[in-house]
């Protein structure tokens, strides 16, 4: 790696970053790349908030009777940690940042189909965020991110309405982004770019958009009904007035389970791109991996009942949902096997993105397999509502989605910022994140099996040792996440200038200068070669 040249470039060529200056050029931009950066800044802000809530919770749990806050405050901490991390970081992270930036570039278009709608999505996201921040400052909300009734609608006197409005509004940002991607991928592909020549990242974005457009509206109406019930004491979810709390859970999980696939599918797309580039090989079984993304998106809508096995849902419905939940595990397993086989006879280099991708595969395998415990009825009875669930979904979301997001940010950073980051620091950060993550969440599997329930502000003394281990891991993980923040910001000013294709990757986005000009391509490119044409014959020909 060349030593970092400290003086910034004097007269950089015209690109989307220096095409225009001033606040107005950012707040009223229609350029999908600038909107992606607006999202990048806002979700990083929310990630820091959500992360600090998590660190406070882990410090509090180092002692059985609670070391830091009152139980009510702890309840608000885990609620807001859930809401901020899920709705304001995980769901928008890859689709809104990497998706917005890369979808037009990867399909050879000048912008998304509806640029104004794209900017509107960001503003909707920010308005929703402000409502949630208001609810956090104005007393917090203590219902859990799941808002189960009748507690949330009748018994909680915290800021339920404000956060409900926040989540309701932010949902539309996700819907409109999904709509934009579906239309762009269908209607604006470059000539020659057939569906099976598209990078797998676009397959993942397409599958994610299907979930975003079909699932989020149901969450919106559910939260809308919850807010109505909280304000007017009408009784469709609270049994005191004749309603059924399980109906809320059905409607809520109809969206919220597919939502976990909104979080993981984009990360799978990123990993496919990174593995192919750094192993310099076409993804093993390209079509199977592409179709498995869509299969996960569709099957993801059939399985929500496994969240309700112990809630008094009918035993027969439990049987149906258990079977369907097992089926949704198959496409994920296929993807892992295909990624691993891509490495076979490859030429693998170990830059930071590849470390994150390989970490993703390992941790996602662990996360996915622990899902089988929860899909099978007998073991779910014991494990539901315990720390086993917390460990399972953190392995998928933090071990999977966040690792994939960080890998993607590192992989496309030269394209986004035109600068390269110090690879040594990046590799160190990846290692710290991997160690910190495992130390935080692996003990929680054991805690769950022992029966420690989740969302407990204080717990019996026998669980303390594992909780202290988990809290220690959390601080390491926190440090691991801060390091990239520092050197990436540093690299924007002082990092060595990046050439158009620093990793030698395939894909139309690498055929534009780094950072690309506002109109992406001087001439709309024509695609002749297959996706991931890394082999000697293909590169010789290109």
């Amino acid at each position: 790696m060349s030593t970092a040249t400290l003086e910034p470039r004097v007269h950089a060529p015209r690109n989307y970053l220096n095409a225009d200056y001033g606040i107005r050029s950012w707040l009223f931009t229609l350029d999908h790349k600038r909107i992606a950066l607006l999202y990048l800044v806002s979700i990083t802000f929310f990630f820091v908030i959500g992360g600090s809530f998590a660190v406070l919770m882990r410090i509090h749990l180092t002692e059985p009777q609670g070391a830091l806050v009152q139980p009510e405050t702890y309840n608000k901490l885990f609620t807001l940690h859930g809401i901020v991390m899920i709705f304001f970081f995980l769901i928008p992270s890859i689709p809104a940042v990497l998706g917005n930036f890369l979808v037009p570039l990867m399909i050879g278009a000048r912008d998304l189909a509806f640029p104004r709608l794209n900017l509107l999505s960001w503003y909707i996201f920010i308005v929703g965020g402000l409502f949630t921040l208001y609810s956090a400052i104005g007393g917090g909300v203590d219902t859990g991110w799941t808002f189960y009734t009748p507690y949330s609608s009748t018994y909680s006197n915290t800021q339920v309405t404000a956060v409900a409005v926040g989540v309701f509004i932010t949902g539309f940002s996700s819907i409109l982004t999904g709509l934009n991607f579906i239309v762009t991928i269908h209607k604006m592909r470059a000539p020659g770019l057939t569906w099976f020549r598209m990078p797998l990242f676009l397959w993942a974005m397409y599958a994610t958009s299907i979930i975003m457009t079909l699932g989020t509206p149901v969450l919106a109406i559910t939260i809308f009904l919850l807010a109505l019930e909280h304000l007017f004491h009408v009784g469709i979810f609270s049994p005191a007035l004749g309603g059924d709390p399980l109906l809320f859970q059905h409607l809520f999980w109809f969206y919220s389970h597919p939502a976990v696939y909104i979080m993981i599918l984009p990360a799978m797309g990123v990993v496919s791109e990174i593995i192919a580039c750094f192993a310099r090989k076409r993804i093993f079984g390209y079509k199977v991996v592409g179709f498995s993304s869509v299969a996960i998106a569709v099957l993801g809508f059939l399985v929500w009942g496994h969240h309700m096995f112990v809630t008094g849902q009918s035993v027969y419905a439990g049987l149906i949902f258990s079977l369907l939940s097992f089926l949704v595990a198959i496409p994920s397993a296929i993807k892992v096997f295909n990624w691993t086989s891509t490495l076979y006879k490859g030429s693998i280099s170990y830059d930071a993105p590849m470390l994150y991708a390989l970490g993703f595969i390992g941790l996602f395998t662990m996360g996915g397999l622990t899902g089988l415990f929860l899909a099978s009825l007998a073991t779910d009875v014991h494990l539901n509502g315990t720390y086993f669930i917390v460990a399972h979904f953190h392995y998928i979301m933090v071990g999977g989605a966040v690792m994939g997001y960080l890998g993607g940010i590192h992989f496309w950073w030269p394209k986004i910022s035109g600068r390269k980051y110090p690879n040594a620091w990046a590799a160190l950060a990846a290692a710290i994140v991997f160690v910190g993550f495992n130390l935080t969440f692996f003990p929680q599997f054991i805690l769950g099996y022992l029966g420690m329930p989740r969302r407990y502000a204080f717990y019996p003394a026998e669980f303390q040792v594992l909780n202290v281990m988990s809290s220690a891991g959390a601080t390491i993980l926190g440090v691991g996440y801060l390091i990239p923040l520092i050197y990436l910001i540093w690299s924007m000013r002082y990092g060595p200038v990046a050439e158009p294709n620093p990793w030698g990757a395939t894909g139309l986005e690498w055929k534009t200068p780094s950072p690309p000009p506002t109109e992406n391509f001087a001439e709309i490119p024509v695609v002749e070669e297959e996706a991931y044409a890394y082999s000697a014959e293909e590169t010789a020909g290109a």
Binding site: L214, V218, S314, Y316, A317, F321
Partner: protein, 109 residues
């Protein structure tokens, strides 16, 4: 893109059909068919929807993609209603304690 321009006569016929079906569904409601009332109302409403979709919304003349998108929407709605209903319909199948509607805790001797 639906370049196809539909004749005005077709629109008027479709409109008259819709009015007829509205009259039909209102009339049928005055006959006691028991559970069939619901079925009849839904069938008529569904056929009115088809008329509006095929002619007024040009789905009859537009490409396969639009039809797939529309069918996906209806299929997902059926998914939501069907799977949720499966829980409610089978909830009292197993010999669980008597039906869930009894609210009073047990009065115990």
């Amino acid at each position: 893109m639906s370049q196809h321009v539909v004749r005005q006569k077709t629109y008027v016929f479709v409109f008259l059909g819709l009015i007829g079906l509205t009259m039909l569904t209102t009339g049928v409601a005055y006959i006691d068919l028991g559970p069939l009332n619901t079925v009849a109302a839904l069938v008529i409403a569904f056929s009115k929807m088809l008329l509006v979709i095929l002619f007024f919304m040009h789905v009859r003349y537009s490409g396969g993609l639009i039809r797939v998108v529309l069918l996906a929407g209806l299929f997902w709605l059926a998914l939501l209603i069907g799977l949720t209903m499966s829980d409610y319909r089978t909830r009292s199948w197993t010999p669980a304690p008597d039906s869930w509607s009894s609210t009073a805790p047990p009065t115990h001797p």
